[in-house]
């Protein structure tokens, strides 16, 4: 688990994933989690949507 996290951090920090792709993945994640939240009415999913949205805005900046 720790090794996987380190690998992910390396990929992110060394910009092996293009910025636009990262932005797209996060954008898609926001919409997916929001769709799940809207259908299920799960409050945790709504909170996750808000957190992902803030992350997306942060990445956009």
């Amino acid at each position: 688990m720790e090794r996987a996290m380190q690998r992910l951090l390396t990929i992110l920090l060394k910009e092996q994933i293009p910025y636009s792709w990262l932005l797209f993945v996060l954008w898609a994640a926001v919409i997916s989690v929001w769709a799940v939240a809207s259908i299920s009415g799960n409050s945790a999913a709504f909170a996750a949507t808000a957190i992902l949205s803030i992350l997306f805005i942060g990445l956009l900046v």
Binding site: S53, I57, L60
Partner: protein, 271 residues
Amino acid sequence: MDLPPSSFGFSWKHGILGMVVIIGGVMFLIFLAGVAIYPLLLLIGILFILAFRIIWHARDRLNVRVVIIGISAGTVAGLASWAGPGFNSYTIFYLATIPFLFVAGALLLDQSALSHIRIIEGEWRASLYGFAVGIVLSVPAALLNTLMGAGQIDVWVDAWWKPFVAISPAITEEIWARLFLTTFLYLLLRTAEPERPKQALGAAIIIAAIIHSLTHLPTAALLGPAGLSYLVVAFLYGVPMALLFVKRDLEHVVGYHFFIDFLRFISAFGL
């Protein structure tokens, strides 16, 4: 972005920080004087006087296309806001200033090379593309805004087409807050320290975003906890929009702003 040190016809020897303090003081006085009326109107009145002076001084650089687009932007915003809440004489004054702020903003933008207005450059496709991309990029911010319950106050949205009123604040606010105010503050701060453009840009973006955010509140509410929460809103919404304006163009940021309000009004209709 090499600008003459005295872009506004004066020299300043107290650096960017000194200029920021002065701007902050002036803004504080404007908001304080706005106790009797909505602070936005007083601010827009002052920005209108500034815009008029800029246009007058640069009248030899004016071109018909910019003026027509400015008037068109004000007209579209006016027609859209007709169906919105509280259309009155204040709204008419506010909308009447938009063409002036647009033209002055375009002149300042031309001088600073801070961003682009694709429609002025005759790039119609790029203009529509920018608007569409702005909408796509705004989806997370729009969802966040709706999740925070922003639509609960919009009880006036009682027909399916009324969310389209969102084009009005998108045009007007992006013209005065981003195109005019951010560019004006940037040029002013560059006058203070021409060799530090990044700091000038950062300060201009943050100040304009805070001012834009605080004008959504009556002055009395500014002194309470709501004032602080609106500072957070400035950083969540205003700063990304300003950066989008600087990195892309005005059309991107109008699209971004439009969809945030559009989704908010749709959620209000669904309540």
